[in-house]
């Protein structure tokens, strides 16, 4: 993970340096571009507000990644709550929206993969995205998510097995 001399960076530089990486991390959790953009803005807003509280124990990137993860999960859960009166679940709504989304570039299998990921519990979904797509090391993941490496490995194992099963079921 890229860890520059964070303390020397001002906030504009932080935004310029990390916005793209954080965007993709958020996007994989919330799936839609507009939602990802909103969450990214909230992430930087929170970071900016808490910049003076940042003690520098972790790298800026780890700190931002943690904020982004929490913001994305909070956003997702909020949407789920708002959708609770609807007959379909928010996950179903997202699955259908992805099919017609102008900013979704995947084929049929990739769509199935995303739909399978959506069925995972929140924590497993985050761990799966970080490990499978971004190949984040367990140690770094542990710092970001505040979970032990062993628990993360177990989470990823369960997530992968579930997705494998879901994809196989869909093929049948």
């Amino acid at each position: 993970m890229n860890q520059p001399k964070d303390a020397a960076l001002n906030f504009d530089e932080i935004v310029a340096l990390y916005s793209e990486k954080l965007y993709w991390h958020i996007r994989k959790i919330v799936l839609l571009h507009d939602d990802a953009h909103d969450v990214l803005q909230n992430t930087f807003l929170k970071a900016w507000k808490g910049l003076n509280k940042f003690k520098g124990n972790a790298s800026v990137y780890t700190w931002l990644y943690r904020i982004a993860t929490n913001e994305a999960i909070t956003f997702f859960n909020k949407k789920k709550k708002q959708n609770s009166v609807s007959l379909t679940t928010y996950e179903d709504f997202l699955s259908k929206t992805l099919e017609g989304d102008a900013y979704f570039d995947g084929d049929k299998m990739q769509l199935k993969l995303q739909q399978a990921i959506l069925q995972l519990p929140e924590k497993q979904r985050v761990v799966f995205n970080m490990r499978y797509f971004e190949e984040v090391k367990y140690k770094a993941m542990s710092e970001i998510l505040g979970t032990s490496e062993g628990a993360l490995k177990a989470s990823y194992h369960h997530a992968v097995k579930k997705i494998e099963k879901l994809l196989l079921l869909q093929e049948i």
């Binding site: 793209e20 799936l31 507000k49 979704f104 570039d105 490995k153 994809l167």
Partner: protein, 156 residues
């Protein structure tokens, strides 16, 4: 050449639980590989053109809410004090104008009542009890007044 019988486990070490979790990790890798082969691991998302070039967060400077709160509290207190003082002032003014007027009105009323009944009272007091029925009472109000007077006289 002599075979090297040195126990390598004493030279190298592995992370804790490495062998205990190894089987699970291999299973994970196999399943992961299957998913990768079927779906790849490139995120299938795109963004609007030049999205990252134009990304810009206009963050407003931090507002000093403490100062705003103090200003608001002071303004509210001033308004409250002003409202209370206005109410008290208006009440005092009303009292000032109303008290003399009321006093005069009371005096007039008293005089009027006195004038109205004095004739009747004098005649009543000068007559004996036997002739009281012959008093020149003309109205019900006169009778009521006399009854009240007599009742009062009995009391004292």
């Amino acid at each position: 050449m002599k075979p090297n019988n040195k126990d390598t486990s004493k030279i190298f070490s592995v992370p804790e639980n490495y062998f205990a979790t190894f089987a699970q990790e291999i299973q994970t890798k196999i399943a992961e590989d299957k998913i990768r082969t079927a779906c790849g691991n490139t995120p299938p998302f795109t963004v609007p053109e030049d999205f990252f070039k134009n990304i810009d967060f206009k963050l407003k400077p931090k507002k000093n809410y403490k100062i705003l709160k103090t200003i608001f509290a002071v303004a509210a207190s001033i308004l409250l004090i002003f409202a209370i003082s206005q109410t008290v002032f208006i009440e005092k003014q009303n009292n000032k104008t109303q008290t003399p007027a009321l006093a005069t009105e009371n005096d007039n009323l008293f005089k009027e009542v006195e004038n109205y009944n004095s004739e009747l009272l004098i005649s009543y007091l000068s007559e004996s009890e036997d002739n009281i029925e012959n008093l020149p009472v003309q109205e019900d109000a006169d009778l009521e007044y006399l009854a009240d007077y007599m009742a009062l006289a009995d009391m004292y």
